[in-house]
């Protein structure tokens, strides 16, 4: 693995995140697993070290070329497993001593894995976390088979796991517009460097499913609608100078539509929302709007066209010959002025997580955290394991109006929510 010739290009999404890097911000996210007993850090460290070589995308360092950044195998020993901190998803130094872009934490009975988004998306990180946990449990005598997303650490990494699937499927003849227009921006008082406020609500997945079914929508559509409802209410209460559309940035896992085993990024964004300038939307109307939006846009044709828009930029010979420093300035400005402005909040749903049957008795729950938002706002991440659905809000602002309206709405809908938070 120390062969520096085995470099690989950053994928389409992965190219954007390093340009947004600043001393106080990194595009980092976290996936966590809670077991039914306290974590033993020494065993976890060994399991981490054993697992890492199986995942070349995580055992990598980011380097700067003249035109692009690229990843190359990282020969340094695995980073140390650390005791968890109150402020997760801290910025990552791309040029740290060990050059790793991952972190592994433990706290009580929880193992958390943080990843710089250039390396992988939620599914890749989750695969790594499940494999580490399986190795950890095996080291304590539990026989866990290699199934349900647990990879065999003794086999060689597959090329298909490292491929840039975007380029493989970005072949639409037409491409949609990049900008969706500006959306309502939640403004709040920025927390001092570096604080990440988490409010996590857990509930029975059964209740959530029943509430969504009552309205004839899926859980993802339902959650989107509740978040949009919270944002619309917040905009009303804020009495803003000029009303704007409320839109959610929601990553879609493209593996559902295009066959791919990649452990790197393979997601694209869709933007369900409503425009309150057209009139007041009831919750039912928001649900309908989101439902039909999802049905209309989330299919292989639209998604292929969407990723082709981004791929075209990277394929353009003019853009390829532009030096990296100039690309960095342009991409950052584009992200700041267009991409970031077109959504009011972020929401991701990792869906129902499955683990091998033999592992199930040891696992209590999963959690996911979208990490620090680029601009002061709030991001929401949902994950379900067995009958527990957890909804985690991460924000770097003091105000928690969105979270309050969101969870109160769920309670009104008859869902019993248990709240936990790292706020003082």
């Amino acid at each position: 693995m120390s062969d520096r010739k085995q470099w690989f290009k950053l994928d389409l999404s992965g190219n954007v995140y390093p340009t947004l890097q600043r001393r106080s911000f990194s595009s980092t996210f976290r996936v966590s697993i809670s077991l039914n007993e306290k974590i033993k850090p020494d065993i976890l460290q060994k399991a981490f070290e054993k697992t890492l070589p199986r995942f070349p995308t995580f055992k990598a360092a980011i380097r700067k070329g003249f035109f692009w950044r690229y990843l190359e195998p990282n020969p340094n020993p695995a980073p140390m497993v650390e005791r968890d901190v109150k402020n997760p998803c801290m910025p990552m130094n791309l040029r740290s001593k060990h050059r790793y872009l991952i972190r592994m934490y433990y706290y009580e009975n929880q193992i958390s894995f943080e990843v710089f988004h250039s390396l992988s998306d939620g599914l890749g990180a989750l695969t790594f976390l499940k494999t580490v946990t399986a190795v950890y449990l095996r080291m304590q005598g539990v026989a866990v088979p290699n199934e349900e997303g647990v990879l065999d650490i003794d086999e060689e990494p597959k090329m298909s796991e490292m491929e840039d699937s975007y380029m493989k499927y970005a072949d639409s003849k037409v491409t949609p517009k990049r900008s969706q227009g500006s959306a309502y921006r939640v403004r709040g008082t920025k927390e001092p460097f570096y604080t990440l406020n988490i409010i996590c609500g857990s509930m029975e997945a059964r209740q959530l499913k029943a509430a969504a079914k009552k309205h004839g929508v899926t859980i993802t559509e339902y959650m989107n609608a509740v978040l949009i409802y919270a944002l619309v209410e917040n905009q009303k209460n804020a009495k803003t100078w000029k009303e704007r559309p409320v839109r959610i940035a929601m990553p879609v896992n493209l593996r559902q539509f295009f066959p791919s085993n990649t452990l790197r990024n393979f997601i694209t964004m869709v933007y369900p929302g409503v425009d309150p300038r057209m009139g007041d939307y009831s919750f039912e109307e928001i649900l309908r709007q989101v439902h039909y939006y999802m049905r209309y846009y989330i299919n292989d044709k639209f998604l292929r066209a969407d990723i082709t828009t981004n791929a075209q930029t990277f394929r353009s010979p003019f853009i390829r010959i532009v030096p990296l420093w100039f690309k960095d300035i342009t991409v950052k400005q584009f992200y700041k002025r267009v991409q970031d402005c077109q959504s009011s909040a972020g929401l991701t749903n990792l869906g129902v997580i499955k683990v091998p049957k033999e592992m199930e008795p040891y696992v209590e729950r999963f959690d996911i955290l979208m990490g620090q938002p680029f601009s002061p706002r709030t991001n929401c991440a949902i994950v379900t394991y067995k009958d527990i659905a957890t909804i985690s809000f991460a924000s770097s602002i003091i105000e928690n109006d969105i979270e309050r309206i969101f969870f109160r709405k769920l309670v009104q809908e008859g869902i019993e929510v248990t709240i936990q938070s790292n706020r003082d």
Partner: protein
Amino acid sequence: MAYCVNCGVKLEETLSKCPLCNTPVYPKEMFVADEKAPPYPQERGTVEKVRRTDVAILLAVLFGSTALGCGLLNLFVYRGSLWSLYVIGACAVFLIFSLPAMLYQKLPYIMMTVIDGGALLLYVAMVAVVNDGMRWYWEIAVPVIALGTFLVSVFIYIKQRASRSILFTAMLVVINIAVFCVGLNLSIRYYLDKRLAITWSAVVLVCAAIITVALITVMRSSRLREEVRRRMHI
């Protein structure tokens, strides 16, 4: 396990108030499990410092060799004037500006500002000596640079210790600009007429006073402050 009476959510056992609306749990002894480990750790993590020694060495070599090269050229090839002193001085000033920020990150910002001001004064002194302009150096350059350094230091000091709000920062900037303009005006007048008098800077001073009073009014009234924040999106 307690429920929030406002939000209707169940609260995790270690919470003593609702994180959504800050309603306290009552009675605390009955519902809050103090002995249980909280779901999130209490220790804060710190971000690893970025090491910039390599860039600092590269900069030192780059500017050092530029200064040396120009000095040698001036000494042996283009001997007409002491032009190389400008380049050597500029290289030295740039190094003094950038090296402490890269190598001694623990050095207080005020100290860095004072060092930068000193470097600028020395550079301008060198220009004054070469051009035989010690009068403007003492009567304009020294007071203006010293005042600028002092105002920047005061700004940093107050920003570090007092409020971080955007309105307060705006007020500080306005006051600093006004004081600097007055200083500049006084030194130029003294250089030209040998007397201390305020002319154009009086207009700046009046404008700054109006803005400052308005900002203080906004800051003191929480209702007004909220309204301005909401309307201006700050």
